[in-house]
Subunit: 386 residues, 2 copies
């Protein structure tokens, strides 16, 4: 099994991109990553694209063919992978596995979602939950995560203000991210007073509806220095499943898929959570950012609100989380998120993150979730090969 | 890169399965393949599922999580892959790559589609074409393939009767396939006189709308005999892309993605088309069965109609095609088809195909197409490891 490196990254601006079509978005990110890596189109052996629901958002399936076509890459094999909001990281994972296998040398892993071409994105997003047991009964994603939040508050005394702090930190970081959908600060008070979406969650606890794309270029680690002076090495790729429906879980306040994937990833990389310098977590709702801090092992279960309130997840904190602004403030074009996380960690480990740089970051982690935790992935990236 | 073997296969009956839900279909196939392979659930390292459009057909994305959940396999990682009607073979390919890489040892590759829960499947199927340049202009899949057929008739003198013969042969074979949607004979006259769908194609030139699922179990070739006395070895897995829209092709009568994938597969397996004893091809419309015979290299371009008319694709012909009944008569639940093809070739190479057995088949091939050829895959399987 060959070691794998990231040699190029790119993402589009995330936001309501009325003037950019689905195919333009992915081409912009893909060609950006190709340029960043120094490869030429002829070097590319395969491409993977994470996307949750192009069928419902833009009436287009078979996007793999569309993308290789629109990027001028035919006959390069292109494959779409999907696991709701974790689709992007699955594209990363399939790219890593394909390079590791020796089937291909240079692989592009990308993600894209164009969500603003429908009148209401909520029904499409709801297809990430159990259609028969959740969506058809009226449950939407905000309501499912609101139930998790409510239970976490009940079990552990987590406060409304602690949840809000997840969004406050994200917005603070996003002001330094040129790709962020919402690059401005907000206050706790503003979160608490924004419109109720599903009690206790308000509008500013929720990630937005976004358009966007991101891409990375992978190659065998041993070849990486042919292309770039700053390769980022993949130390672990782990994925896990859990029940798709919330009511089938033993414990609503833990995403078991995150815990299982994190343990696998730490073991594979030969590190512990204490070795991780910077992390991008899946905070589609503020409560999920809080769960991630606990389930990835940064603190014990129930203590997530406290460590966030204490500033430990800030860029200068003990374990910086989401310097990019996270799903809340960078934006969350579903299939693109997992790849955008890998872009951000790559920039951080290269030392290219500007005003949102985590000082001296050497090992980084990404955490991507599908649905309410039916799928989770954890990737560990490193500046050093060994 | 490790060699890979298929150690278990299963498929559901294909047809209008009103009494079986999406999740029941995939569980039946998946558990059937597990049983056929002799593994236990604990052995499974990962699962891939090919599916074209569960979002549009059953309002459910994130089916990977649903499936691992409903099969009782959590926390096994499960990933959906999609390239329209080629989705199934991409699940096979990702499974092969994953086992080859060493990331996992035992992998299930499955495919599923539940198409009959919508009033009209045509708009969902049309999302496999270029939405902006084809579907929104009114082109449906029958009309796109009808244009290909018309051009092939014009260029090479292919006759209406030769096209019909593809369906006649498929239906003949399907009568011996217990899983086939249409297990009965039809005549050339019946094909010609069935309702016009898109001139020159009639109803009996077209594969049906189907429900169904299929699954195979993969493991490293070196371990295969631990589980079964009749492993089937994967000699090649190849995939290629072409323009998604028909008007961008240099030649409408050739699927270049098929040609590129076939060449790669023959090279990888170290065989020529003459070594292939039995083949399952993607004949979503009769014309596509004819193109496949040419583009896979069984005969030169333009001669497909002639060799089919001469009976060379029949079970006792020179190069038997679709002993299963093909997409036309076995049925075509989109995401399941590529896996059902691998099941059929496995049965053929094991010598387990009953009255549709191709005598002495040792090397088999599957050919799966997405859209009008935007994606194509070719897999070569063998009874012998070397």
């Amino acid at each position: 099994m060959r070691d794998v490196a990231i040699i190029g990254v790119a993402q589009t601006k995330f936001g309501e991109l009325w003037d950019t079509s689905f195919r333009e978005l992915i081409a912009e990110a893909g060609l950006g990553a190709i340029k960043d890596s120094g490869i030429s189109g002829d070097d590319i052996g395969a491409m993977y694209v994470g996307n949750m629901s192009s069928g419902l958002f833009v009436d287009q399936e078979h996007i793999a063919s569309l993308i290789s076509d629109h990027m001028g890459l035919n006959p390069v094999p292109c494959t779409r992978v999907e696991a709701a909001c974790a689709s992007g990281s699955l594209a990363l994972r399939q790219g890593i596995i394909t390079v590791a296998s020796g089937y291909e040398d240079i692989v592009i892993s990308a993600g894209v979602e164009k969500m603003t071409d429908v009148v209401d994105a909520t029904p499409a997003i709801a297809t990430a939950s159990d259609q028969e047991w959740e969506a058809q009964q009226g449950a939407t994603f905000p309501s499912l995560y609101a139930m998790i939040a409510r239970r976490h508050m009940y079990e552990y005394g987590t406060t409304r203000e602690q949840l809000a702090e997840v969004s406050v930190v994200n917005h603070h970081n996003a002001q330094y991210n040129p790709y962020a959908q919402f690059p401005f600060e907000i206050t706790t008070e503003k979160v608490l007073n924004s419109s109720k979406v599903a009690d206790p969650l308000t509008l500013l606890d929720c990630s937005p509806v976004s358009d966007g794309a991101a891409a990375v270029v992978l190659c065998p680690a041993e070849d990486a220095h042919k292309y770039t002076d700053t390769p980022i090495y993949v130390k672990a790729s782990a994925q896990s499943s859990d029940s798709i429906a919330l009511h089938d879980r033993k414990d609503m306040t833990t995403l078991n898929a995150t815990k299982v994937a994190a343990k696998k990833a730490y073991d594979m990389a030969g590190v512990t959570v204490k070795d991780i310098d910077v992390t991008e977590v899946h905070d589609c709702f503020s409560i999920n950012g809080l769960l991630a801090v606990e389930d990835l092992g940064f603190t014990e279960k129930g203590n997530g609100g406290k460590v966030i309130e204490d500033g430990q997840t800030r860029i200068d904190g003990d374990f910086p989380i989401n310097p990019s602004g996270g799903l809340k403030a960078r934006g969350h074009p579903l299939g693109a998120t997992g790849i955008a996380q890998a872009c951000e960690i790559s920039w951080q480990l290269r030392g290219d993150a500007g005003k949102r740089q985590v000082d001296g970051a050497e090992i980084g982690m990404t955490h991507n979730v599908g649905g309410t935790g039916g799928t989770a992935t954890v990737h560990i990236l490193s500046r050093d090969q060994n």
